[in-house]
């Protein structure tokens, strides 16, 4: 919704999630959506922490791109993830929002919800470096 083409890469194809700008078309947000199935689970039958992380990290990258000048790319400096509730199934909705877009560093927050449950399953914060083309 923000004119950024959907990037395909193998891990995303395997996990099978969509990624798009925020629903309001405003820059600075992104949403990733994933329908949980057996491929996302760890041996304990809950969604693997790496799936939750990848979903939000990708959304954070997309949200960061939406506030950068054309041709710039970004790279994660640090991301922290906090797991609040285990997820066994359902539709995961990951949101990422830019908190501050500096010239060289962009800070974001993110969260993952199971659709229909307004309590977060995980929350994240991250900081990305801006790399000029």
């Amino acid at each position: 919704m923000d004119g950024i083409p959907e990037a395909e890469f193998p891990l995303r194809t395997f996990l099978d999630f969509s990624i798009d700008g925020g629903p309001d078309g405003e820059p600075g947000t992104a949403v990733a959506v994933l329908d949980v199935d057996e491929r996302h689970l760890n041996p304990n039958g809950i969604v693997h922490g790496g799936v939750v992380f990848t979903l939000v990290d990708t959304a954070m990258g997309r949200a960061t791109l939406s506030v950068l000048d054309e041709g710039c790319i970004c790279a994660s400096i640090e991301v922290s993830v906090r797991y609040l509730r285990p997820v066994g199934g359902g539709r995961l909705v990951a949101t990422a929002t830019v908190l501050r877009a500096g010239r060289r560093i962009v800070h974001l927050e993110g969260a993952v919800h199971v659709e229909g449950d307004d309590r977060p399953a995980a929350v994240l914060q991250g900081s990305f470096a801006v790399i000029e083309a």
Copy 2:
């Protein structure tokens, strides 16, 4: 090497990494090894942050299990990852080490190196909750 069976799960099968106890057979460490190929890369041609995270998160879980009483499992509370150098290829070696094994919480540190380079590509710290069977 520590008697814990290798857990298979779809994300691990897709990423295709090995996971084992530390080389010294001591509890409290684990090592995951992944040979980078095209499936691990993001659209910029470097290893996706979610791959680095998944590798160490899995090793942290394994290292935690190695210090727990039989029948206990563990769940991530929080994990933080810091990306020091982009990785474009090679063999990734992820290590996880227990820093403190409490009765209810286990703290760990982790790192990812490209084999042959003693400078870390990423460093992590994490805390896991102990769940009694």
Copy 3:
């Protein structure tokens, strides 16, 4: 506002900040307020990161206490702070909000604003362990 007595301790007395339950009297939030003066600054003339951290960490502890059974105390497991904008002066308002209160672990988020500026100067997330009396 939530019946928890204001705890005095020397670092708080030195930094001279107030700490109270959230304005709505609901459990799960706390607010700390500090008027910046020379004692809070680092050698570069901006508020020291340790001051920002202490303010929110104290508010997080207070917010956690407000959701615990009487007699329980809490201890920080991990806290992460992200500095968005340097602060040179003004009134710092730190808020802490419980995101999830589990039986053994409480997760929170926090932020620091300079009064009159709705953009955060710092954001934090933290996890606390519940210790039964």
Copy 4:
């Protein structure tokens, strides 16, 4: 030991800790030392998390300065602290070590020990931005 003058600021004077380059005179490390007394304790009688944080954050800043070109300063992007063991007294020794010194971002790790105990009381990781003069 690395030619950087000891910076005085009020919070440091109140907490009363020393700060110096690492014992080997090599750039990229710093050590802060604090003798615990009543002023460092929280209402539960253990060293306040903000004291532990301030000690390492200051050492991280000092270690970062030791690898920068003259005239550059640094500012915290993000710091994460993990509390492994409560501290009730003794001499706190905080160490900070540069993990990677990039042109724009410096990553560090830190730890706090009670002198005489080789198990860490707290571990930290942080990332600092380099600001050209």
